[in-house]
Amino acid sequence: MLRAANLSKRYRQGTALVTALEGFSYDFPPGATAVVGPSGSGKTTLLNLLAGFDLPSEGEVELGGARLDRLGEDERAGVRLNHAGFVFQSWNLLPTLTALENVAFPLLLAGVSPQERRARALGLLEQVGLAARADHRPNQLSGGEQQRVAIARALALEPAVLFADEPTGNLDSASGHRVLDLLLEHAVGERRLVLVTHDLEIAARAERVLHLRDGRLIKVEEAAAV
């Protein structure tokens, strides 16, 4: 499960106190939820808090049954490893590792045996259509291929929640659609996809859209109404 209650984040910038997010409450249902809003609306801050990258100034975040706002850095990393997957806009992959090794990385952290890591990573690369590129390094892959490897890696430990931050931002439209399809394919059953984007066309593919403005949740649209 993924739930936020009265979530706020304030930063100190010099002498001024900047509010990046204010009073955000939402219980993310299974399926795909897009978060949209103009630049500076608090999308990135929200994702940082939902994923436990950062701690809220106030409020609660619950991910996979753990209260992230009450945990230390390492405990939050543990929750992420077991319950969440990530796909960022760019710079997703570890440059010194091959596609296969990148996909296997979360499995290494989770203590999976080398043979099983390899088998599972290969299977995941097959799912995203990149088995043939398993031994390529990130700099030998196109942007779209890199994002697909990142998706395979994000799915490695079958997380309950997949976070994607502008995952198609750097891609041409064909690659972008393929990446989006892969992400949406995952958001079935009890699984959740949180898709942060400024592109309303992409957001329209989600089952619901959260609109942020000036750090506040101003509107929640369900699929039928999008």
Partner: protein, 379 residues
């Protein structure tokens, strides 16, 4: 894909920088190994030397250290005194001798003369001694020359050897090479050397003991009975040498520490730069779920790997360098003066390990403490 593979990939991704750092550590370690190999070589040579040294006790005038050529300060009465005590103390033979050193630091032009009494030959001093040419006994007016000395100064049998303006002896024997200090000695009759020095005194009494006698006990009793002497046993001489060698080791280690610190700073710099360059990479790892200690271990392992690989190369280079030095010292004085012993190799590796740990700690700490949002540029 184990941690080691990650470490290897990260280091090889910046190959030139890693290679230079590795080389820096290797040179620093090699210089330390070489510096300290002299102490080890001397230790080995001395232990072997003392093991082959015939007399168990060396009596010299009080205040003479164990390894300096003693001055002729022991009067003939003292010899009588010691001879009188000999049967009670289990002393089988008392060999009065005189030692004279001529020349400087160049082994080819320095001469160490040992004046031995009639009826005594180099075997009393060094039992394994064997003659290669001529005879062993320098009496009445000959000289028996060690192998290396004979080679360096071209002292073949029959060649005259001038000891002073009016004393010249003839080489009557050349010893077989023994890889010992004896290779550099010239044995002459005691009376001849006393004439050269213009004295009736002796420089040293070499004592051969009953095998059942307690050497240190005899030395103590002698010193108590005969005032003004130092009775030095072989073990005591070794202890003295060990003290001197340790001081030498410390000085040499101190000098090589400078190189080591520079090497350590190289590693710290390489790893720190690599940490700065990989901030995002660490951010991605943390985002995926890597704990701080994983990042810490990864970065520390890189520093350790560099240091240990450099240390290993340094030890190997040290072994090669030591062999080259020994080629020279064997040629010059007939002794291997440098040795890379297992304990020196282990010590060097341990130093490299400590170096890696200290150089890697700060970068590892920095890498593991970068906030995820900052590392990913998500602020």
């Amino acid at each position: 894909m184990e941690l080691l593979l990650l470490v290897w990939r990260n280091l090889t991704a910046r190959l030139t920088r890693s290679l230079f750092t590795w080389l820096g550590i290797a040179v620093a370690t090699a210089s330390m190994v070489l510096f300290l190999s002299f102490g080890e070589g001397l230790r080995q040579a001395l232990t072997a030397e003392m093991g082959n040294f015939g007399p168990q006790i060396r009596v010299v005038a009080e205040g003479t250290d164990a390894f300096s050529p003693p001055l002729p300060e022991l009067p003939p009465e003292m010899l009588d005194q010691i001879k009188a005590l000999a049967p009670d103390l289990g002393i089988l033979k008392v060999i009065p001798a005189v030692v004279m050193f001529r020349g400087g630091f160049d082994p080819a032009t320095s001469f160490l003369f040992y004046g031995l009494p009639e009826g005594s030959d180099p075997r009393d001093f060094y039992p394994p001694a064997q003659v290669a040419a001529g005879r062993l006994d320098p009496w009445p007016d000959g000289a028996v020359v060690g192998a290396k000395k004979a080679e360096l100064s071209r002292l073949d049998v029959g060649r005259p050897l001038r000891l002073s303006r009016d004393v010249t002896v003839k080489v009557v024997g050349v010893l077989e090479p023994a890889s010992s200090m004896v290779d550099n000695f010239i044995f002459v009759p005691l009376k001849t050397l006393q004439r050269v020095l213009g004295t009736e005194n002796y420089g040293v009494f070499l004592l051969l003991l009953d095998p059942n006698a307690d050497v240190d006990e005899v030395a103590r009793k002698l010193e108590a009975a005969v005032p003004g002497i130092d009775a030095q046993s072989t073990t005591e001489a070794l202890k003295f040498a060990e003290r001197a060698l340790r001081i030498g080791d410390l000085i040499r280690f101190g000098i090589s520490l400078v190189a080591l610190i520079v090497g350590g700073l190289l590693v710290a710099n390489t790893v720190m730069m690599s940490v700065f360059e990989r901030t995002r990479e660490f951010g991605v790892m943390r985002a995926i779920g890597a704990r701080r200690r994983f990042i810490f271990g990864l970065v520390l392992s890189e520093a350790l790997f560099l240091s240990l690989a450099g240390g290993l190369a340094g030890v190997l280079a040290g072994v090669a360098g030591s062999a080259v030095i020994n080629l020279y010292t064997q040629q010059a004085v007939g002794l291997a003066l440098s040795a890379v012993t297992p304990r020196l190799a282990l010590f060097s590796m341990a130093i490299a390990l400590v170096l890696g740990l200290s150089a890697g700690l700060l970068p590892a700490r920095s890498a593991s403490r970068i906030p995820v949002t900052e590392a990913l540029g998500r602020i």
